[in-house]
Amino acid sequence: MVEAVRKVTAGARQSAMALVAAAALLGGCAVRDTGASEPWDPLEGANRFIFSINRAVDTIAIRPVAVLYRDWMPAPAQRGLHNLLENLGEPVTAINEVAQGDPSRAATTIARFLVNSTLGLAGLFDVASAIGLSKTKESAGNTVGYYAGVEPENGGFYMVLPLAGPSNARDAAGLMADYAVDPFRILTYALNVDWLLYSGPRWGATVLDTRTRTLYALDDLERNSVDYYAALRSAYTQQRAEIIRQKREKTNPRAELERRDNLALIR
């Protein structure tokens, strides 16, 4: 009797998993809708392998450069490069804000882009923030998460991307979508701009800027975890969820707290 029940549940679980795998490819899926559970990581073996390669490359090539950059590049120059990259990302943010049904916010983003590209000297200076046009950053991952009717912790299966690091089905798909709709990418592609003139430098600068900004947090996480892979997986999932949750619950910041009331943390 018990055995039969177990079989039925196992069967149901299997078909559920198949459904989930299909749904995950579309971005978000309902697998275990309590934020208390571990991130869904069916590819853990492969992920850990890529993670170890990423770590080796990071230790040898990326982290040392980021440390030098952080310690020796004057702060205004670091800020300038960061502003420049953020400015290049504004069109993608605007597109996502339209997709999220917030055209007025998208208009502000476009205004920011125009102001910073001209008065801000091609984006080196964030003049727009100074005149009251506040900054936002949106990705297609956020857009999918915004519409997916699941807990934002649940972004489909977790994956570690070569060089880019932690991600999941939702955010990796979002990354591709953002790449596809990026006006700068389309334009430079159409005009046959040499890779070395635009894509290469932008990519390299993004890696440098991002790594410099994550030095402190990642060093800390690595030093204070017994399983860095798992700790990073958890932290990534939580942080992405927080961003999407804030987006969803604009009028109700309490929803997050209510969810936490239902976690296994509470006895």
């Binding site: 017994v226 798992a230 939580q238 942080q239 943390l265 509470i266 006895r267």
Partner: protein, 204 residues
């Protein structure tokens, strides 16, 4: 027995807090001067003093005192071990707690380098029906963006204690829990290797 009494206490606390919770719903932005907010402000002031005036082992000892005085460490340790907690002996629990406290004290002592003019500003306190209060705060830095920190505060039976810290949405307890769980899974599902590892780290 201990667990049962804690549960009873939490139920009591929940009942006691039900009324303020209803009030909180009516006025979403509560004044940030309740006991929970004061607890955070006191803890933050104490840590800032430590960072200003001490270094090395002295700072680590100070941080350890703050951890034991302001945090509900047994609660957090239990939450971090999740279901594995039930598979541990009282002796293991004691060792685990000790090792975790050492690790956290050391981590926090290293985390703050020199004092750089940071301040913690409490913005809002929300009371939850389960007896926890969540204190929203911002860590303002002299350079760079402010960092959002949420503190979960509960009445532990020995007064209000901090039970979790969320930095930019990343909960310390949740991250530890995932970290520990994975380590345990990869070491034969036993808690003992984790405790040994933590103990080994604290002597390094």
């Amino acid at each position: 027995m201990q667990l049962a009494s804690r549960r009873a206490l939490l139920c009591l606390a929940a009942a006691a807090l039900a009324a303020p919770a209803a009030a909180a719903l009516a006025a979403p932005a509560q004044a940030a001067d309740g006991p929970a907010a004061q607890l955070i402000e006191r803890a933050a002031a104490e840590v800032i003093e430590l960072v200003k005036n001490t270094t090395g082992a002295q700072r680590e000892a100070g941080i350890r005192a703050v951890l034991t005085n302001y945090f509900d460490l047994p609660f957090m340790a239990q939450a971090a071990l999740a279901t594995h907690w039930n598979a541990t002996t009282p002796e293991q629990r004691e060792r685990f707690l000790k090792a975790v406290v050492s690790a956290e004290a050391r981590a926090y002592a290293q985390r703050f380098g020199q004092y750089g003019g940071q301040t913690v500003v409490v913005s809002r306190v929300s009371t939850r029906p389960n007896g926890a209060s969540v204190v929203d705060s911002k860590l303002n830095q002299s350079n760079g963006q402010p960092i959002a920190i949420q503190w979960e505060v509960r009445d532990s039976g020995r007064g209000l204690r901090i039970t979790d810290v969320k930095i930019e949405g990343v909960s310390m307890v949740m991250t530890r829990r995932s970290d520990f769980n994975s380590f345990i899974q990869n070491n034969g599902g036993k808690v003992e290797p984790l405790i040994s590892e933590l103990e080994a780290r604290s002597t390094r």
